[in-house]
Amino acid sequence: MHLDELADFAAEVRKEQQESKHCIRVCMAAGCQSSGAAAVLDGLKGQVDDDANVHVKGVGCMGLCAAGPLVEIESLEASSKTASSKTLYQKVTADDAEAIVDSLDAEPVERLRCSTDIPFFAWQKKVVLENSGIIDPEEIKEYIAADGYLGLVTALTELTPADVLREIKASGLRGRGGGGYLTGLKWSTVAKMPPGQKYVICNSDEGDPGAFMDRAVLESDPHRVLEGMVLAGYAVGADHGFVYIRAEYPLAIERLKKAIQQATRQGLLGKNICETRLSFDIEIRLGAGAFVCGEETALMASIEGSRGQPRPRPPYPAAYGLFGQPTLINNVETLANVPSIIRHGGDWFAAMGTERSKGTKVFALAGRIQNTGLIEVPMGITLRDIIETIGGGVPDGKTFKAVQTGGPSGGCIPEQFLDLPVDYDTLRDVGSIMGSGGMIVMDQSSSMVEVARYFMEFCMDESCGKCVPCRAGTDQMYHLLDKIVKEKATSRDLALLEELCDMVSATSLCGLGQTAPNPVLSTLRYFRQEYEEKLQDLAVAGSGQADLARADSSASETEETK
């Protein structure tokens, strides 16, 4: 398919879409589906019947999962051909279908209406999620009509692999899986390897509990990820890609399979893409429930059909990766940014965000927060804006206590740091990490020691058992934390726990062990009082003043150990 053919195809689909006056979109992402979106879609389809003026379709995640099932109606204004108005309905049931269809040419149904002027929608900036909730993820033509594959075809026909690399470097994009490594640097390392068999892997093993960004991207806009992978393959000289995806995401797997079939049929994937010399095919590999497989060397072992155990690095996958060949591994969200960067240019992307963290980031808001769901915001926004303004704050009149970012590798950030900008470096400075984007808000009802124990139990369970510090250390730390929670511990146990934290993080083989103590360290740093209150030999801890002083001293200690 050439550039002009793609443009013709897109124009044709757009014209077709404008033929119907109303477009009804029903969110069919996992959150809304479990609240009965499928019945709503059927109900609406039944009501509309064969009316050519109305087009009903299932779409991907609209973001505000708390108010699901969501239905959006876009109607062309009577006066003009292009302007349109949008109405969003929340908590729709199948019984509401009739009222909604009846209201199409009249006033909207007020009782179901959800305002789109609220900060939750108004403050977002969508790049990765630009099509999410708008296009039907199971139809490639809808993606193409939304300028999909335009970046790929342009790159293949007009840019060299070096040009693509240059744009990615200029964008300043950093890995969205949590590490924050510069994507351009990673790509050029693989590109510099001698020609031969190379691989591109899309890491969709979103194992962090509390994170569902990748799932939403794959379910709502799978072609975007495929396009990103082919572009990566073109830039680094690979002809084969793997998507390693969790088996816990059946809907995402199904949509990805469909997307691969459709793209292959359109000649956008497979042999001689767009009649150029580039061939690239993509295979899906299922995970089987092992958190450690999110680590790149463990992930490759799993694709090779072995136990998912990491190995020491170097050699890095860029030099010696899958089946011993140079391999590029990127996270779903990283790859999903690529088509937009190629389409609009690296400078456009670099204009968003902060000095060292460019672009936007998708976050999953969950826990004790009003507007649970999925958001995409520019880097550098403050945590307070995310939690209080966009997220609507803590419900039921409770007070905010901490926000957990980065899953089992991250930490808990207390109230005093809410005005810090969200970027890779700031979050690391306060003892947490950006992580893949899960944000879990906790109110006063959560005990921080129990939260630390929860994460340690997770790491203990998920430790692959290869290296001793992680296998034995997480187990010991879990039992110490359990002892503290059950108020059977003494200050010696706490000292031992802190010692173990240092040892495990300094000597473990892979990221899982190295970061496993983070939730303990960060809760100790900011909520030490809660630990001490549970110790047998210490009287009830002193005032908040004393607590803060301790927080400061332990903060400087952590800095020294770094």
Binding site: S34, G210, A211, R215, P250, G289
Partner: protein
């Protein structure tokens, strides 16, 4: 002269072995496809037993120890038959904060089984998932493949009783 590879015979006449054979053939009997093949076996039979692991090992030319090692490494592979119905309680962070622990306790009180166990009448298995990615509707559980969100203990028990 043609080179023919002797493939082992399936352990029984069960027609489901045909599906396993198809899955292996599609992957060219590559040892790398082990995890894919084990998924196929579990989909067909519900769990992995000694016979099926031996058959897969011989077909892919792998030692049984390797197959057993992989099957026991990953949480999703079950080596024991599951109950007729399954209820997967999500114990991810968001669900934990919103009270997944109460759900687990409620199930134990009503059905007498803990996470990872199956009722004596083999009707119901209770499993846990590390996160099913339905954090925005926490606490969540998956009953026979269908996700339910915003659950209270009573609601979950009622939904389980409906299927069992």
């Amino acid at each position: 002269m043609t080179l023919t590879v002797q493939r082992p015979k399936p352990p029984s006449e069960d027609k489901r072995w045909k599906m396993i054979d198809v899955a292996m053939r599609r992957q060219g009997y590559s040892p790398h496809a082990l995890i894919e093949v084990l998924h196929a076996v579990q989909n067909a039979f519900g769990y992995l037993d000694d016979d099926s692991m031996t058959y897969v090992a011989e077909s892919l030319g792998l030692p049984l120890s390797k197959v057993y090692g992989v099957a026991t490494f990953y949480h999703l592979f079950a080596l024991k038959p599951q109950g007729e119905h399954t209820c997967v309680v999500c114990t991810g962070t968001a669900c934990y904060i919103k009270g997944a622990g109460d759900l687990v306790d409620g199930i134990k009180q009503r059905f007498g089984v803990r996470l990872g166990e199956t009722t004596e009448d083999k009707k119901l298995s209770i499993l846990s998932a590390r996160c099913i990615g339905a954090c925005s509707i926490a606490p969540a559980a998956v009953i026979d493949g269908k996700v339910h969100g915003h659950l209270s203990v009573d609601e979950l028990l009622a939904r389980i009783e409906k299927v069992v």
